[in-house]
Structures are given as C-alpha cells and as structure tokens.
C-alpha cells in the first residue's frame, strides 16, 4: 500500500508521466485516507498543513483519473466537489455581506484539517495498540491451567411422613400377604353388548353363547369377566328387543340370534 501511495505522489508531482497514474484506488481507504497520503508529501506536521495545496493535489488527481475513465467511488467524488468548493472559498476574497450564514474558507479548511488529524490520530493509536505486549503474542498466561474441579456432595432429603408411609405400606403388604389386588381387566356390559351386536350381525342363525366367547377362551383370567358381562349384555339386549335367546334346559347351552324384524 505504501508503495502505491509513493507511486501516486510521483504521478501527481509529474503529471505529464501519465502512465504512472494507473495507481489503483484500492490502495486507499476512502478520500480521507488519500488526503492523508497526499498530506504526507507536504512534509509538515498535519496541524500546519496547507489545506489549499492539499485540495489542489486531490482535485488534480481526480481530474487525471477521470481522463483515464477510472471509476471513482462516490465517496471520492463527494470529497472532490467539497474540495472544489473549499478551494474557491479560499481563493476568493471574503464577501463582507454574508459573513453570518456561511462559514469562511478558513473555517472550512480547519474542519478538514481537524478531520485529518483525527483520523491520523486513530490510525496511530491503532498501531500503538497493536504494538503493545499482547496476550498470546508476547506475554503469556499459564500454558497448562489447572481447572477448578466441582465435587458434588449428595445431600439426602426425606420427610417424616414419607418415612412413616413407607413403613406402614411395607409392613401391611407383608402382613396382608396375597390379599393385595392387582388391577383387573374387567369387561363392562356396554363393551360386551357392542361386541355381541357386531358378532351377531355376521349370521341370522342360532349360535351358542360360548361361541361369542371363543375369542377369549384362551385367556382364562379374562374368561370370567367376559362371560359375566356378555351374559349381562345378552339379557339387556333381549330386553331391548334386539336379541332372541333360548335354552333347552337348565345349565344347558344358551343360544342367541339377532331378532328378526
């Protein structure tokens, strides 16, 4: 980048050697940066810089660049027009009449000089920062830190009700032995009647009630509840006039069929 700037300065100082103007603007970070680069050619402290001279240099460069149809970013063109305005203000004698409204060329020059100083200051500060003894670059923390280990101690919690309840539950369970009931699978009459109707729909012939239980015969623990609820449902459906039922003698097979309508 520094090389580019040097080339640029050459180009501006010897503007007849136009080939050297093929300096790309990418070397610069915007118009202020370019102005700072140009200012360096004046070889004076930034606070004593000739803003007029700087403006002329900048405008010269922009004009040259335009001749070569170099594409200039808007930032550069805005600065160029501002500098042209500043230049005219600086060159023309002060107009006594409008001193209230418009800043003088001197004042505008000061603004620009201040902005350049400010940017320059930040640039130098950045370099100073980077030149510090930075952690991990020139000073170092412990390479093998010893990490804090978290050790968990269990703290048990229980309350007295829980204690008593646990005690009585287990004592009682043992004392009452097998009396504890498991939740049973119970068929409700409603479930049984739904099942009955669905199966009877298959045929209009008489069927023994045991037929309807076939599906469940293998699971002996369910057989009782299914038989009971099926019988209950049968009576219910007969009462409703949905079913017919017959038995030849006591304890004989019960036969069911759908009521003919």
């Amino acid at each position: 980048m520094a090389d580019n700037k040097t080339e640029l300065h050459h180009a501006i100082n010897k503007s007849d050697e136009k080939e050297q103007l093929i300096v790309d603007l990418e070397g610069f970070h915007g118009p202020l940066d370019m102005l700072l680069g140009l200012a360096r050619t004046q070889k004076v402290n930034l606070s004593h810089i000739s803003i007029l001279e700087l403006a002329q240099q900048y405008l010269l460069f922009i004009n040259e660049a335009r001749k070569y149809r170099l594409e200039l970013a808007a930032d550069y063109l805005v600065m160029a027009s501002w500098l042209a305005y500043l230049k005219s203000k600086l060159l023309l004698p002060e107009d006594e009449n409008d001193e209230d409204d418009e800043p003088t060329g001197e004042e505008l020059a000061k603004v620009l000089a201040f902005r350049l100083q400010k940017l320059n200051a930040m640039r130098q500060a950045g370099q100073q920062l980077m030149a510090r003894d930075r952690l991990g670059q020139s000073i170092f923390a412990r390479g093998m830190p010893e990490h804090i280990q978290v050790i968990k101690t269990p703290q048990y919690k229980a309350d007295v009700f829980e204690l008593i309840k646990t005690y009585t539950t287990q004592r009682q369970r043992k004392a009452l032995g097998k009396v504890t009931l498991e939740a049973r699978n119970v068929w409700s009459i409603k479930e049984a009647s739904i099942r009955l109707q669905r199966m009877l729909g298959i045929s209009l012939e008489w069927f023994p009630i045991s037929f309807f239980l076939q599906e469940f015969l293998t699971e002996s623990d369910e057989h009782r509840t299914v038989a009971a609820s099926t019988f209950g449902a049968t009576l219910h459906l007969v009462q409703q006039g949905e079913l017919e039922i017959r038995q030849s003698k006591a304890f004989d097979n019960l036969y069911l069929r759908q009521k003919m309508r």
Binding site: F140, A141, R142, G143, M144, E146, H147, I148, Q149, V150, I151, K152, T153, P154, Q155, Y156, K157, A158, D159, V160, E162, L163, I164, K165, T166, Y167, T168, Q170, R171, Q172, K174, A175, L176
Partner: protein, 232 residues
Amino acid sequence: MDKKQQFPENVTQLPSADRREKLRILEALLFAATEPLDTQTLSHHLAEDQNIDALLEELQNSYSMRGINLVHVAGKWAFRTADDLSYLLKSYAVEQKKLSNAAMETLSIIAYHQPVTRAEIEDIRGVSTSKGTLDVLLETGWVRLRGRRRAPGRPVTYGTSQTFLEHFNLDSIQDLPGLSELKGAGLLEKNLPVDFKIPKPDDTSLLTDDEDPLDEDEATAPLLSTDMQTDS
C-alpha cells in the same frame, strides 16, 4: 515446616545476574508451556555450557515452599499447585438427592425396630437388602452402627442417630406414631392380623441386654465392609 521460613529469600540470594536471568528464562518457559518440558527442550534457550540440571534444581528449591511447585514428572518439568493447596482447585457443591425406595424402607424399619440387624431387616422387608442400601443410609448420617447382637455370627445392630432426629424434625424417636395412631390416620387398614405389632421405637445409646459393644476400630471408623463380612 522450618523450610517455610526461607520463603521470601530464595531469588535474591542468587549468585549472579546471569544466573538469575537463566532462572527467569526457565521460569517463563515452564509457565507458558502447554506441556511438561524436558531438559533438552529447555536447554535450547540457554547458553550451551550452562548446567541446566543445577538451575532446575535451584528453581525447584525456590518454589518448594510456595503455592506452586516445580515438579519433575516422567523425566519432564512442570509447575503444579502445591499438594497441600489442591483443595483450592475444588469447588464443593451440594446435590439434593432422594433416597431410593429400598433405602427408605430400610431406614423406616431401622427407625421402628432398632436395634436391628441386617438379617432382621430382610426378614421384615421380605427381600434381601443390598450392601449399597445400608452404605447410603450410613452416608446420610441418619443411621449408625450400634453394637453387635449376642447371637451366632455376632451381627452388627443398626439404629438411628441424633442427626436422624434433627433431619426429620423429631424431638425424640418416640414421636414416631404407634399402631393406633397409624390406624387412626388411615395409614394402616383396620383388618390387619391380630398379631400385627408396631414396636415402640427406642434409640437410646445404651446397649440392650443382647447387644455387645462394637470392636474398638469399628466404633471409631465404622466401615461397612467389616459388617458385611459378619452379617451376611
């Protein structure tokens, strides 16, 4: 600990500025290193004719009484927190835990039936009690080893502790409800067998007639393993 009195001196007594600089270099290299360093690596940074072993030994001495030590491990050197200060690198957190069902059952039996042996607990529960269950209960501090039953095998007897009363907010172990109260509270059914009894809990530290004191070492360091051998 008389060595500690030398603490502030060490570096200032170094013989020469050159030697001191070498020590500084070793110190910085070892501090910033991400792994222990061997003498060969360290000596790359020093003038060749330096006796690096002597320097490292000197550095090790100068740190020997400090919060960090220079240690020699597997032929390499590294800084480590002094052993006696390793507690600084630990942070203790309390983790709230609930007792397992088995532990809770065992605890309640110990509370009501103390002094009680493991075999008696198993008899009441109707299942065997794992070693871990009693371990956990001893760890809570709520259960303690009381003594040994005067019976074949001299099994250890268990009882509850003062901590137990404190944790369960009981004035005395007799505050645990008895049979009629439990029935009244609906915690026991009415139709229990006639011979169903709830013992009157008693955590007195005096040994009962059929208890012998623990052996001396058990009383001070109640290791469960001792118990396990005898009890199971």
